[in-house]
């Protein structure tokens, strides 16, 4: 027990948590934007996976930042594709999302084998690059807490720092700009912004594109920092956990950040705990985010339903 506590409250654990949370956080923010505009984006998983592969392959031939950018573009283009089929051709957003996931699952393996010349499992033969970490070892010089600060704050991925900025940016966008107001209006009651002359479909399209771009950053982090290189199915359900985090975070950027952090902690625990307690299986810990999401979903839906019922007489 003491061992557990010591592990959890150590600096290394904190660093691990930041690492696991970063891709989740980006995907969650992407899911949040899409959800607030009124479309449930089930394709976060596929978008991240395709971004992972794109970033890895591009990084073989170009610097790391070009690779990250290409991952973002891949995600954004998928968002645009979804917007085309959902908004213009009226296909159901869930079906379109699943099409993207199916495309991603097989398409990435296909592209991987072409890129590696036959290896369908991993990109280990490719010289893919990593996102640099931010070295803050100068912090050690700070009196008293220096070494602690350094072990906590130095060495994180540059994208992790970007994640924090992105949360602030998303919050600012949603609550301090007119476009954020338009987006939230479109998601909640499209007739109102439409009557006010807001181009509703354009707003929805851009939100899907942004959703894809954010998932893209998450994918880049996953394949260029958390792991170096691509492995098939490497997203392992993170895109769906992100949907859960959107829900758990009460559809607000700060809530999303906290929910993603919570799920990041569980992922980190799943890595750490089997070493300490091999009687708690890793798989069971991995189910925790999903179980928590289902419970949160039920709780939030129940509360919303009760609120409605207090006004109407219920009928079955």
């Amino acid at each position: 027990m003491i061992e557990l506590l010591m592990t959890v409250f150590s600096a290394t654990f904190f660093v691990t948590v930041i690492r696991t949370t970063t891709p989740l956080l980006f995907a969650t923010l992407g899911g949040l934007i899409s959800d607030l505009s009124g479309a449930l984006n089930v394709a976060l998983e596929g978008m991240m996976l395709i971004a992972c592969l794109t970033a890895v392959i591009v990084s073989v031939y170009a610097p790391w930042y070009v690779a990250v950018l290409s991952g973002i573009c891949a995600g954004a283009m998928l968002g645009a594709l979804m917007a085309l089929f959902h908004l213009r051709f009226k296909a159901d957003i869930i079906l379109v999302g699943f099409a993207v996931n199916i495309l991603a699952a097989g398409g990435t393996v296909f592209a991987l084998s072409r890129a590696t010349g036959g290896d369908k499992g991993t990109s280990i033969n490719l010289q893919s690059k990593a996102v640099p970490s931010v070295n803050l070892s100068f912090l050690e010089a700070v009196p008293v807490i220096g070494p602690a600060l350094r072990s906590l704050l130095s060495g994180h991925s540059i994208l992790s720092w970007l994640a924090i900025l992105t949360v602030i940016g998303v919050w600012f966008f949603l609550y301090r700009t007119p476009y954020g107001l338009w987006l939230r209006g479109v998601g909640e009651y499209p007739a109102a912004p439409e009557a006010a002359g807001v181009p509703v479909n354009k707003v929805r399209a851009w939100s899907l594109i942004a959703s894809g771009a954010l998932a893209g950053i998450g994918g880049a982090q996953l394949a260029m920092f958390n792991y170096i290189g691509f492995t098939r199915d490497m997203t392992a359900g993170r895109g769906f956990i992100a949907l859960g985090a959107v829900l758990l975070g009460a559809r607000h950027p700060v809530g999303a950040m906290l929910a993603a952090l919570l799920f990041g902690i569980f992922e980190a625990l799943a890595i750490v705990m089997p070493n300490l307690f091999n009687w708690i299986p890793g798989e069971i810990i991995q189910t925790i985010p999903f179980v928590v999401t289902v419970l949160a979903l039920v709780l939030f839906s129940y509360r919303a339903q009760r609120a409605r019922q207090l006004k109407t007489l219920s009928k079955i």
């Binding site: 338009w182 109102a192 109407t312």
Partner: protein, 514 residues
Amino acid sequence: MAPLLEAISIGKTYPGGTVANDGVNLSVEAGEVHAVVGENGAGKSTLMKILFGIEQPDRGELRLDGRPVAFANPREAIDHGIGMVFQHFSLVPSFSVYENVVLGSEPRDGIRFDRAKAIEAVRALSEKFRLSVDPLPPVGQLPVGQQQRVEILKALYRDARILILDEPTAVLAPQEVEELFVAIRALVAQGRTVIFIAHKLPEVLEISDRITVMRGGRTVGSVGTKQVTEDSLATMMVGREIALRVDRAAARGGVTCEIKALRIANDRGGTIAEDLSLNVHAGEILGLVGVEGNGQAELLEAVAGLRGIAEGAVHLDGTSLEPLSVLQRRELGVASIPEDRLARGLATGATIAENLVATRLSDRRFVRNGLLDLKAVKAHAAALIERFSIRAGGPGFAVGTLSGGNMQKVVVARELAEQPKLLLVNQPTRGVDLGATQFIWKSLTAARDGGAAVLLSSADLSELLALSDRLVVFYRGKIVAAFHNTDDLTPETLGTYMLGLDTQEPETMRAALQ
């Protein structure tokens, strides 16, 4: 001086043949409150939609400040200074008042949404036009009267010179109506012009300067408010000849349905209708008269079981209906023809046979041990198609392929396949061609003659007068008059009660309610 806004010989025919406007003229002077009155179906909404750019006229022209204009969409109308407040608001419930007002044209500070400026602007407008509302709370929490003010502020924020208010008092309580009138007077004092669409004549007479009356898609006339009396106005609005009449009931039986002191509430606990008490006898048609939205449709829903009852009782042959489910009420002999056949009365993707049997799924003739007897279902459908002259390819066709009149016949056929005890009918011939209308009327009287008690609600006064044996008038959620349908009962008389101009002696009313 040229009028501010003119509509000249406007004509509009909808695809499908409905002539909504036929040579309509409207002339609005600057700075006046101009009321447009007329019954449902008179063409008022179509004219307003044309003025606001939602629809385009087939004939005629619009003139603003003496110059011809045409609006291809609402944005253009807004740019020309016309603002419209609809009956159904377009407000985002969780957004605050000021966010709703400025949505789409937000004041900015660089990339930021300048909230302080928005709140300031809304406060200023609110004071200037006596539309007091706190800019900060979320709109969803406000009472309806204040929500309406937010809608008006939306139009004013975009510098509307002409404000069109569509039935603004329909959703307001009396005190709120007074506050609205204060606001309208303030608007006019500030140089704006208000076009006011309404039904309730006392209010129209109180607030407006001039009145244009529409009927049957045409303009009947335009008068100054000071020169007109209530009665002449009512006559202008409702006078028409009755083209068709059916035979009155031979005799009526005992009381089938008893409604006592019924109160129906809306989602927020506010009252839609109250103190409703009436009896319906077997073998008679009781017509519910009134402008739409005064409680008739809600009463029918409450009796059918689709809406809850806040207070009071409904009995069918002595059995209380209140605790029973929709299915249980149907089993007792309640049948209902709903107002909107596409939304509620039919499953357009399913076949005619399936729609016809949908309310009879506990009947042993069609379902035994959970299995459908398809032959019986098909035969039943074929027999009903024959009996009700439904023009369709066959029982296996999807209902969505039928014309409006035939779709309605499917609903009628289903509900009248077996003689019901209590038949609830709402807008039976809305959007239905003449031939099907005649047939449906015959079916309704046949049901009545078979012993059914029929509650009929319709926006078409001539239909009510043609079919009903007795009539009950609704105004503002209460019953204000009741009549036996004799030859000397005229539409004008009903009109005065419908529009709130008169109230009946309680004694007379009680007698007719039995």
